[in-house]
C-alpha cells in the first residue's frame, strides 16, 4: 500500500506545479488582453525578412 501513498504525493505535487504555472501566467499579465496576441501572431509570419533587416537598422536596444 506504500506505493499508493507515494503516487498520491506525486500526483498532488504535479498538480501543484500546474497551479504555480497558472499563478505565474496570471501575474505576468497573460490574461490581461486576450485579443491582440491572437492577431499579433499572424502578423509576424507575413514579412519576416523585411522585419529582420529593418529591426537591425532601426531598433536600438534599450
Amino acid at each position: 500500500m506504500l506505493i499508493i501513498t507515494v503516487l498520491i504525493l506525486i500526483s498532488v505535487a504535479v498538480a501543484l506545479i500546474f497551479l504555480i504555472a497558472f499563478f505565474w501566467a496570471v501575474k505576468s499579465g497573460q490574461y490581461d488582453d486576450t485579443y491582440s496576441p491572437s492577431v499579433r501572431m499572424l502578423f509576424d509570419d507575413e514579412k519576416n525578412k523585411n522585419e529582420e533587416t529593418s529591426k537591425n537598422g532601426n531598433k536600438p536596444k534599450s
Binding site: 499508493i4 500526483s11 498532488v12 499563478f23 490581461d32 488582453d33 485579443y35 502578423f43
Partner: protein
Amino acid sequence: MGVVMENEVTPPTNDGKLLCYHCGETCQNECLQVDDKFFCCLGCKTVYEILNENGLCSYYDFENNPGITLKNIVENDKYAFLENDKISHQLSDFISEKQQNITLFIPSIHCSSCIWLLENLYRLKEGVNQSRVHFSKKQLTLQFDPTIIPLREVVETLVSIGYEPQITLDTHKKDKVKKEDTSLLLKIAVAGFCFGNIMLLAFPEYFGFDDVNSELKQFFSYISLFLSLPIVLYAASDYFKSALKGFNQRYVNIDVPIVLGIITLFSRSVYEILSQTGNGYLDSLSGLLFFLLIGKWFQSKTYQGLSFERDYKSYFPMAINKLIDNVPTPIPVNDIEIGDKIIVKNNELIPVDGVLLSDYANIDYSFVTGESIPVRKNIKEYIYAGGKQRGSSIEILVEKSVSQSYLTQLWNNDTFTSQEEDSNTFINNISKYFTLAILIIAFSSGFVWYVTDPSKVINVFTAVLIVACPCALALSSPFTLGNTLRVFGKLGLYLKNTSVIEKLSKITHVVFDKTGTITYNDQSQIHYDGVELSSIEKEMFSSLSSQSSHPLSKMIFKYLDEKSTLNVESFTEIIGAGIEGIVKNCNCKMGSGEFVLEKNEVNNIIKETRVYISIDGDVKGCYLIQNKYRKRIKSVMGQLSENYGLSILSGDNDSERERLKQLFLDTTEMRFNQLPDDKLNYVAELQKQNNVMMFGDGLNDAGALKQSNVGIVVAENVNNFTPASDGIMDAKLFEQLPALLKFSRSAKYIVYASFVLSFVYNVVGLSFAVMGNLTPVFAAILMPLSSISVVLFTTFAVNFKAKNLF
C-alpha cells in the same frame, strides 16, 4: 479571423456608390483617386500616401477599409502643450534621458489592422522603439527616444494617420482597476485545485470500499485537511471580510450564513479527522467555495473599453495657452489663476469662466446643452466654461478658477461626494430571514435531540448548518444578473455592474433629457416657409451655403441637395449673423432675421432657429430648423407611460413644447430652460416618492444622472466620451426601451424562481439533517447538484426570455 492576404482593390461600389478605400464611407461630393484607389476626402488620401511611402500598405490587407475618417482635421499646434516638461512628465509612465514610456488611450482602435499599423509605428518614425496595443482597453503603450523624436511629434504622427489619442487631465491617473480581477482568478484556481484533489481522495469513501486499510484512510484525511487550509485561509477570505463588514454595519448580508456554513463544515471536519471518528465534509466545503467563487467571477463582467466614472476632467484639455508678456505659453489647466489672460483656439474647450477680450466669439455649447449650433458672443460678454470656440482664436480674461467655474461647480454638489453603499439587494433582503430561519431550525432540532438522544445533539446541530449553507441561494442572483448583463451588452446597453439591473427593475419614473437624447444629435429637420424657389435659385443658395463651414449652412446645403457649381464672388461671412455673396450677378444673403431682414425687433418673439434668405434684398422666405425626434418615439413613450411616470427636462427654450405635446401624453411633465443644477434638483425632488431613471447625453446632465437611481447615457457611438453614469446605451436601442425595462423586471422574477428552487433543495437536505441522517457522501452529492441545477435554470431562463423579447 478575417485576415485576407490579397492585394486587389476592394470592390469600390455599394448600391452604385463609390466607397472610400481608406475608411469605407461613401464618397459624396468629391472623389479623389490615387493608383486605382478612391478616397472620400483629402485626409484619407493623405494617410494612404503616408502608408504607401513607408511600405505599410499591408494595413489594408487585414480588413477591408479599416481606416478612420479624417474629416475633422486638427489644428496645427493643438499638441504644442506636450513640449511642456511638467505635462510630459505627468503623462509618462517612465522617463529617462534616452527613453520615455507612455500609455495613450486611443478610442479609434477597432480592428486587427489597427493593431498591425500601431505596432509597426517604428517603421514610420525613427526613434520609436516599441509600441504595444492593448486591444480591449484601447490603449497603446509606446517606448521611444525623446532625443530623436519628442513626445509632441509622436502624438502628431498618430493623429496624422487617424489615431488621435485622448489626452486629458483624467487619463494619467486611472490605472488602479485591474488588481482585484486577478486575485479572484487566483482564488478560483486555488479552490479548483484543492477541490479536485480532495474529491479524488474522498472517492474510496463514496464507493464504500471498506477494505481500504485504516492507516491509508487516515493518511488520505490528513492530506485533505492539509489541502483545505488554503481554501479556508485564502480562497474564502473575501467572505469572512464581507461578513465581518456587514456585522459592523449591523446588517446581515448573504455572506453571513455562508461563513457560518464554512466555519461549521471546517471545524466539524477537523474534529472528525483528528479524533478519527469520520472523514469530515472537506469535499463539500471545497466544492462549495469553488462554485461560489465562479459565481462571483461570472458576475464581475466589465467592459474595459468603456468608462463609467468620467467627470469634467476627462473633457477638459491638459493645457491651455496663457499670455505671459504677450507670448502664449502652454500651462497645465489646473495652474490657471484668476486674472490670467488665456488664448482659446479653434475647436478648443474653454475650461474656465471669464470675460471675452476679443471682439466676438462663436461658441459651440454642444458639450453642455447638446445643441450644436454655435452662439455668438461679443466683447466684454461673460463666457461660461464648457463651450468650444469655433473660428479664429479668442482671448479671455479668467474670472474663476477651474474648480469654481459654472460647469465644474456641479461636481462640488453633495451628490458627487457622498459614497453610498447599496446593501438593499434582493439577496441581502432574503438573507436576513434565511439566517434567522436556519438558526431557529438548528437550535430547535438540537433541543429536540437533546431530549430524545443527547449524544447526537452536536451532530444534528452542525448538520443543519452544513446542509443549509446557502450555496444555491448565493449563486442564483450572480448567475441571473450576470447573464442579463451579458444579454444587455450584446444588444448595446452596457451597464456598470449587476446591481444596476436590480435597481432598474424597481424604477417607477423615467426622466428624459431632450436634446441629443430623444432627438438625433446629428440630424435636424428642416422646414421651408416662404415663396417657392426655382431650381436656379436653389442652385444659387446651394452654391452660397457650400462656401461656409457653419453647421447651419451645411444643413441647408444638404437639405437643398443641389449642385453647387456656380461661382460665388465677394463672399463674406459674418459670424453670428449670416453669409452673403454675389451669385449670377445677384446679391444673395442667408442668415438671421436681423441680418437678412435688416430689422432688429424680429428675434425677440421667435424662439426656434430660423435662417432667412434673400436675393437682392427681396426676402424669399426662411428655413425652420427643428430637432428631429428619434424613430418610433411616440410608440416608445406610449408603451412606457403604461408602467412609468415620464418627464422631460430641456436646457433649451420651450419652442418645441407644442410638438412634444403631440408625442407625449398629457401627464408628461415638461420643463424647459433647465440648468444642470435644476435638473439635479428636479430628480432629487422626484425621488421622494419614486425610483427615478434618468436618460441623458451631455455633461449638463451629469448631475441628474448621478443623483438618479439609475442614470443611463444615450450615445450615438459608445466609445465617445460620456459623463459618469450607471450605463451607456447605444442610441439605436432607443426604440427597444420598453422591452429592455421589461427584461430587467423579468430578471427579478427569475431570481425569485431560483430562490424557490434552492429552497426546495434546502428542505430536502434539512429534513435529512434534522433526522440525524446526513452523511458526508449525501452532502457531497446534494450540494453540487443544487448549485449546478440553479446555474442551469437561471442561464436557460434568462436566455429564453431574451429570445422572446428581442
